[in-house]
Symmetry: C2
Subunit: 325 residues, 2 copies
């Protein structure tokens, strides 16, 4: 289990390596939301998403001999790039298992960050786990899971430590903290950090409508799954269900989940472009969308939205900008 | 004259009000440039550009009685928004004189930030200065010039203080610091800060090709003007000539100026989008463009580019993204 002490230890290992992202705001966003809005732009993190924090935390926590043999991850997206860069910086080999129909740019970026990319054919039913297991066993690689892994959760929790400190510097002690939520690694880490360092703040997961497994699991009191495996432009945060490790943390500490439409995510991207000058991907914009467009479901004078990632192509970004017209 | 002590005093007045922007980087940009590239994203500053710093410095330096009567500025762009927000935060009235054919959004934004916008008809030869003088005299307003004003230069110089400190934290002591340059307020402020705090760093102005009055003035050793008043998409940094106060500072401290094409500015915007997840306007991207596309004109292992602003509309941004395809 991830403890507060583990988050603080992760913060010490990340210092000087992860980027201390600022806390942004705009009077124009405050006006839309009807309350003060603060945004933590993790799109500015190395590799364009918060995933670098968890990856660094996990890789840096390995004992040197284990690390020297290398790490392996399954990901077609932000986790892949986070693990690739964190491993390279530690001089550790990284193998990333990706579907061969993943976007070319994501494959290229992951390779450019020094990882060995192993492609598998998901359409013809190649068994990703078997391929990964084979590489891991043959070469002694350590699997870095994307969210259901205590040291990954500890790394993501450093976002919560920074929010508590930076908000206090701006005079904010109480707030709801909205977090774009897939498997719950970031949300649970942030919730643990806030429990320890900002008693008057509460984390709440935000998901795409139709893929709100975490919100429904929280309200059912048990893990439930999404009906469909995919179908939202917020692909980075669509996961089948909350994690075995993350769910008990979310359940104990988080407020009710929120869900927004794809169109609202696009409008939030457009406002982040025009008012904050940051680039968000759809899945990285749902927390801001909820902060802006779900005022009646939020309590208090201040809302803090974690903008989790910015790995979006020009075509989708153009679609977002057009949504504001 | 702006002194180092004035910059440090401005930094103290700005503390907690101006945003401490991070220093960004990407291995992909390093590869293009052939050296380490660090980017200071002032697009993330309040109102979307560094201009807020100089405006805050100038407004906060006024004695309370003078400030209470209010301030006035001539600007159709970033300086207008910076002065409007800085004045509002001080409870001071702000009058901004803008051409009536300025982009609607800039006029609306400036008003939304609490300023009284006075429009004049520049096409029919209305005398902007006479209108401004009349308002200033009748109401006792203090003019905040955009660059040729010691307290404005001191405020912009805080960018240089932060660069010196943040680069040192990343182990960088020596670098050329490229600055998008209009009248030279930011460039001269940064140059003064570096002289005091980073002896192995040197500021260099970057301008759009055809509007390189500062570069040519530096090489002539005297102030020379641009041939045309406008005609670059980098409109935010097109000024007729360097300032009377800024030029002697630039001349004493800066390395040779650089110039880039509009197309290069657009390509730098596209790379800032894809690799740094920030939004730049063309005039705010010329320093990054020079860092990436003028490697032979730059010395040393590290180059630092100040990305000065991000106030760009969706149409121009789309054009930039298309330039990368």
């Amino acid at each position: 289990m991830t403890s507060t002490a583990m988050i603080e230890a992760a913060a010490a290992r990340l210092k000087g390596h992860a980027r201390l992202t600022p806390l942004l705001s705009s009077p124009f966003l405050n006006e839309i939301a009807g309350r003060r809005v603060l945004v933590k732009p993790e799109c500015l993190q190395h590799t364009g998403s918060f995933k670098f924090r968890g990856a660094w935390s996990a890789v840096s926590a390995l004992d040197p001999d284990t690390r020297r043999r290398g790490v392996i991850a399954f990901s077609s997206g932000n986790h892949a790039q986070g693990v690739a860069l964190a491993a390279r910086a530690h001089g550790a080999p990284a193998v990333i298992i990706m579907p061969e129909d993943a976007p070319r740019m994501k494959i290229d970026n992951t390779r450019a960050l020094g990882a060995e990319v192993v492609l598998y054919d998901r359409k013809n039913g190649e068994d990703r786990d078997a391929i990964g297991r084979q590489h891991a066993e043959t070469r002694g690689l350590t699997l870095i899971k994307p969210f259901d892994e205590p040291q990954v959760i500890a790394g993501q929790g450093t976002v919560g430590l920074e929010i508590a400190k930076q908000a206090a510097e701006q005079g904010v002690e109480a707030a709801e903290v909205l977090v774009c939520c897939g498997g719950g690694g970031l949300t649970s880490g942030v919730a643990l950090a806030l429990e320890a360092h900002a008693l008057r703040m509460r984390a709440r997961p935000v998901e795409p409508e139709g893929f709100d497994d975490v919100a429904r699991s929280l309200s059912a009191g048990d893990i439930v799954s999404n009906a469909a495996p995919s179908g939202s432009i917020c692909d980075a945060i669509v996961t089948p269900q909350p994690g075995e490790i993350t769910f008990p943390i979310l359940s104990r500490l988080c407020g009710p989940g929120l869900a927004v439409s794809d169109e609202e995510a696009l409008r939030a991207m457009a406002l982040a472009f025009s008012r904050l000058k940051i680039v968000l991907e759809p899945g990285g914009a749902v927390a801001l969308a909820a902060a802006l467009f779900r005022p009646d479901q939020i309590e208090g004078e201040t809302v803090i939205a974690v903008a989790t990632g910015g790995n979006v192509d020009a075509e989708m970004f153009q679609k977002a900008m057009a949504s504001a017209e």
